[in-house]
């Protein structure tokens, strides 16, 4: 029984990391139409910044703030410098992001080599309740995720702003005619999504060691969750993150573990076939042609 409860907790913890990534993806992809495959690398940069800061003696909270700021600034620069020129052709934005993946990964390698990097756990406490072990870091990640998602939910869905964002992704010109500063909002969402990636990166390295290639493998899950939940839909991202986390946890824990990824992909395929708009409905995202 305690093993079962432990597995549920594990699922929750996986879910929180995935959700944090998915929230960034769902906002950027769903509300600006930018397909940023390099979101994982943004995350990785966040981790690297945290690692650098901690190695230089900064405390974790400060390092986390640094990661958020650095990645947000980077997001701002990249949106203004690159992505804004691809707004009308989302698939080109996608290629730009592929180029960025290569560039970011190897810039990090150039300066700090390709080896795995880790920081000491910022919280080392492990609570044991009736045979179930709860690590304080994991609890911290779950709590931070919950807080951030709630906050984001508040900001984004605050009716006026959220409405304007959804209108912008549906029809940019007409949204501008309504007086919506579309460009600025797109930048805003992109920067916010990037900041979330920075935060995610900081939390990630608090949990696991990372390499310059860590982001690439995680980001697909973010996209999967964003689509399963419905693009641009925060509730959807949270629910889908939970579902995927639990499915992943249980398939690794009880099923044929080498098929773990297969379960989550199968789940994603199933959901998208039955409910193409995602579980909770969302924007239709950019048109791909």
């Amino acid at each position: 029984m305690e093993i079962f409860i432990q597995q549920i907790l594990n699922g929750l913890s996986i879910a929180s990391v995935i959700t944090l990534i998915a929230v960034g993806v769902t906002l950027i992809f769903g509300l600006t139409g930018i397909i940023n495959f390099a979101h994982g690398e943004f995350l990785m940069v966040g981790s690297i910044v945290t690692w650098l800061a901690v190695s230089n003696g900064w405390g974790f909270p400060l390092a986390l703030c640094a990661a958020v700021v650095v990645v947000a600034v980077m997001g701002f620069a990249l949106e203004r410098g690159l992505f804004r020129f691809t707004l009308d052709l989302p698939t080109n934005g996608f290629i730009v992001s592929l180029g960025l993946i290569v560039v970011l990964q190897h810039i990090v390698i150039l300066f700090w080599n390709a080896n795995q990097k880790s920081i000491p756990h910022p919280l080392t406490k492990v609570w044991e309740v009736g045979g179930v072990r709860i690590a304080a870091v994991r609890a911290m990640v779950i709590i931070v995720t919950a807080l951030v998602v709630t906050l984001t939910f508040f900001v984004i869905t605050r009716s006026r702003y959220g409405r304007a964002l959804r209108a912008s992704v549906e029809d940019r010109d007409t949204a501008a005619l309504m007086g919506i500063p579309v460009r600025r909002y797109i930048t805003g969402v992109f920067v916010f999504g990037s900041a979330l990636a920075g935060l995610g990166g900081a939390l990630l390295i608090a949990l696991f060691p990372i390499t310059p290639f860590t982001g690439g493998t995680i980001v697909m899950k973010g996209f999967a969750v964003a689509l399963i939940g419905g693009l641009g839909n925060l509730t959807g991202a949270v629910a889908a993150g939970l579902i995927l986390g639990i499915v992943e946890g249980f398939s690794a824990g009880y099923g044929l573990s080498q098929w773990t990824d297969a379960y989550s992909f199968a789940l994603m395929i199933l959901v998208l076939l039955i409910r193409p708009q995602g579980l909770f409905g969302g924007t239709s995202g950019p048109r791909i042609t």
């Binding site: 006026r160 409405r163 949204a175 005619l177």
Partner: protein, 241 residues
Amino acid sequence: MLLEVSGITTGYGPTIVNRGVSLTLGAGEVATILGPNGAGKSTLLRTIAGLVKPRAGTVRFGGSDATGQPPDVMAKRGVVLVPEGRRIFGDMTVEENLRLGAYARRDSAAVDADVTLMENFFPILATKRRDKGGSLSGGQQQMLAIARGLMARPRVLLLDEPSLGLSPLLVKEIQAIILSIGERFGASVLLVEQNAGLALSVATRGYLMQTGQIVTSGPIEELRDMSLMRELYLGGAAVAS
């Protein structure tokens, strides 16, 4: 003059659409631009609203220069375009569409009141308040587009074919609404219409546009009787009014 357009030249890529177009619009006035398909009427409205950057010429609004300002800035300053082809936000509800129209406004209480006002103008919008814009019939969408434009409480309303797809009954209502915009909203209207009957009955001044240029302009009564107008626009048929 509230709005002064002078010497505007526009185009898309290699094609020139408007050539040196000038026109003016006074406060509270309703003017109309008439012209055959492809003359460049919509492009001119889009230019004034900031969606198309002019290649030459200036737009002055309220006495200051507004050439090449982005559409959101123009909207905030009070120049609002109800675009051709409705451009309803199909994934959003009717009420959300309406409220988006008032996006640039900060007076939320007055916005609520205006939503009610629009629903009085077009009762169907009240019935469909929670329905997705995309599920509306063509004419219902047209009503929504006009109402959405009015929600901005514009100083200049640019209407691009507002009667498109509306039933005769509603065309009459639109006619009444346009006529009342001046006093109710204190706004001027620049109207592009294919329904000459409607255009000629609401406007006080008209411009006749052909292949991107203004060929004639003047008080509406004069325009109505011009032979060029008949030839270009009315196909010789009697004007229904």
